[in-house]
């Protein structure tokens, strides 16, 4: 199973990268993907997640080919 992960704004700056690619065999939830990729950094409070361009909870299941994104609270408008 192949998942593309993207990071935006201050979270990208903090992680010092804007994307990850994860190859796994077992099913994972959104929050588990974060833990797998950032084992030393608990998900910062208020971080938002989106799965295939739609907001998703941390327990949403991630599927093969999905694009998962993590980002800080939005400040548009």
């Amino acid at each position: 199973m192949s998942i593309r992960i993207r990071y935006f704004a201050s979270l990208r700056d903090r992680l010092e990268r804007d994307a990850d690619q994860l190859e796994v065999d077992e099913p994972l939830a959104v929050g588990e993907v974060w833990q797998r990729l950032n084992p030393d950094l608990p998900l910062p409070p208020q971080t938002l997640a989106a799965l295939n361009h739609e907001y998703a909870g941390l327990d949403a299941p991630v599927r093969d080919g999905d694009e998962l994104a993590f980002f800080p609270p939005v400040t548009g408008g």
Binding site: F8, S10, A50, H53, P72, P73, V74, T75, G76, G77
Partner: protein
């Protein structure tokens, strides 16, 4: 319904004038138009802001704006919505966002315009980074949408 992201400055008044002039479905019907224009201020948190970079999430940002406008259209009897938002490098006084909502009567136009702005502020994936005299900083919170 017209929803657009703009990489460079747009003129909200030219956009509205042109839209009204060409929108046949508003002819004689669009009695009420509520709009909101947000522009870049040159001060924030007590500091002078020289410029701003507005980041977005290409693909998701457009879809989220479409979802928000669709929710408004499902909830109120709207005749049309125009929703433009900048991204990229902004200067003070540059328009950031334009929301324009047409309805036959003013209550729906006012309510839907404000709903779209509040939803956009809380949900549309945009992030502001301010350029100050002594460096840059991310804006971390939005101003609340209800009077304190």
């Amino acid at each position: 319904m017209r929803i657009e992201l703009h990489a460079t400055a747009f003129d909200p008044w030219a956009v509205l004038a042109q839209h009204v002039a060409t929108a046949a479905h508003l002819r004689g019907r669009g009695g009420a138009l509520a709009t909101f224009v947000g522009t870049m201020r040159d001060r924030n948190d007590g500091d002078h802001v020289q410029g701003m970079r507005l980041e977005h999430y290409p693909g998701m940002t457009e879809r989220e704006l479409e979802r928000i406008a669709g929710e408004a259209a499902a909830r109120w009897p709207l005749l049309d919505v125009v929703l433009l938002h900048r991204f990229g490098e902004l200067q003070p006084d540059d328009p950031i966002v334009l929301v324009a909502v047409w309805s036959e009567h003013r209550a729906a136009a006012f309510d839907a315009c404000r709903f779209i702005m509040e939803a956009l502020k809380s949900r549309a994936p945009f992030w502001k980074k301010e350029r100050l005299a002594h460096g840059e900083r991310w804006v971390t919170t939005n101003t609340p949408g209800t009077a304190g």
